[in-house]
Symmetry: C2
Subunit: 331 residues, 2 copies
Amino acid sequence: MKYILTISIAIASLGSAFAAPTVRDEPIQPIQPAKVENPAKVELGKKLWFEPRLSMSGIISCNTCHNLSRGGTDNLKTSIGHGWKAGPVNSPTVLNSSLAIAQFWDGRAANLQEQAAGPIQADIEMNMPHTLALDVLQSIPGYVAEFKGVFGKEQIDMDMVTSAIAAFEETLVTPNSRFDKWLKGDDKALDAKELAGYTLFKESGCVACHNGPAAGGTSFQRMGLVEPYQSTSPAEGRSAVTGVDADRFNFKVPTLRNVEMTYPYFHDGEAATLEEAVDIMGRLQLGRTYNDDEIGKIVAFLKTMTGDQPQLTMPILPPSSNATPRPDPFQ
Amino acid sequence: MKYILTISIAIASLGSAFAAPTVRDEPIQPIQPAKVENPAKVELGKKLWFEPRLSMSGIISCNTCHNLSRGGTDNLKTSIGHGWKAGPVNSPTVLNSSLAIAQFWDGRAANLQEQAAGPIQADIEMNMPHTLALDVLQSIPGYVAEFKGVFGKEQIDMDMVTSAIAAFEETLVTPNSRFDKWLKGDDKALDAKELAGYTLFKESGCVACHNGPAAGGTSFQRMGLVEPYQSTSPAEGRSAVTGVDADRFNFKVPTLRNVEMTYPYFHDGEAATLEEAVDIMGRLQLGRTYNDDEIGKIVAFLKTMTGDQPQLTMPILPPSSNATPRPDPFQ
């Protein structure tokens, strides 16, 4: 009996090994390519992603602050929205966001679909009441036909809108970074400095938070664990959602995928460079002061996590009809 | 001798007829597809077209007001620029703009390259001094390499920037509209109503101004020729360039290509619909009041001039370096 059990375990191990024979056992796993199950829905979601008519001004779309030409961010400390208002926190990248446990820095949206509803109506972002957004879409024959094709209904609702946007966002993953090639067994994908950077990153404890395929997004953590973080940002983090004082300054750990492109860093965007961000993280989160050589190695490693950016054909948006409510930038 | 001359003329005529045997002899000619002579320069120009770092705020690019998902316009009466300032005139479409005699509504730029320099530094548009724009580009290794590949120089200058943008813009033509198919001899490309609309458009005199491949862009004309045009717009038109009082309210005739997508209409964007625009044009420019049936026919014809929109893969913009001057939205 003991003999049989041992053989079974050995076979199970072998099976597991054969399933992914060359992926290294590391706290960060390779990004998987997107599987598109409903191309028509993704295509509709792409149009909505680039659709400025979802904003009161007629010029702000999802892509304004999560620019897919720029790592899915706007590269500003905090974003500019309707009426040139500044947002309270840094726009996180949309790339690989489907891999996160929740959405927004404070995790107040459980998933991408729930997230997508927020910025459309937020007065400092797109400032568009959902009812008016739906009136706009319903007045555009091209959209009515496309929503019907995807959802089988004439009447467009917000669930359909956000579900299509989320379906598009789920395709925005960035596989095939050099680090992923190394994870899959290609020893030459990283040079000695980059590998030393990864070893230091791992051994000094960064992976406690920056783990999983996105190298982040798997937990909420206090910003300023060892030393307090000094910030003028009004953002209080997770406590705004849970109401629990112990959650103050707890933020979702950001992904480090494509981090070379997603500057500036932290929830307040106050770290302008990767070097600055690594230095601050070391001191505040790990109680460790990295020297310049160590910072250089970690930064070299971080830059190997830039993956294939989504190759997108710009959508051609269907024209408004005479009945379409017109934008009002100065409302 | 006379005999030989006659034969030569006959052969020349035949040659001409054979060169384009099926194109109808009409005041509007088909749009020709773009010929790309220098793909690397066009690709660089595309990156610059989508480059928000050419603006002080870091969020406004050429594509913000000339959105290639929306017929090359922003579909606003007048555009919103730096600091949420409103511009004085409607943003004209970039599509087929290479076919115009000059650029801007008042023709103050002789060509696309000259035009491209304007909005970058205009304080109500991108608000970016050229010197700073060049400092930004020069600090980005990806751009330095790409400019060197195209222009053979390490030092980037504004001529290189605007020349690359213009090269990209020259590719933004929209051939193969249904009207073009009809022009090339396909009788079934237009239905009876559309053809009646074109006949009315031609016979009532619209083609006096809206002619050539772009159905416009070939001349400057007074807005309000028969009756004065009432507008609160400060724009004075061509006189601002020539200093000649007789040129007041003379504007470049806009193209009617893709006019279904380029609403609202006129230099002040005050005509919200095509029906309104046709009615006003008839009365003010031709002294003719079209009835609803006539307006419907002309609008049906105008909508046949929507051509193939440029199919563009969104560029991935090279990341800033630590030395890159950061945007300042509130400057």
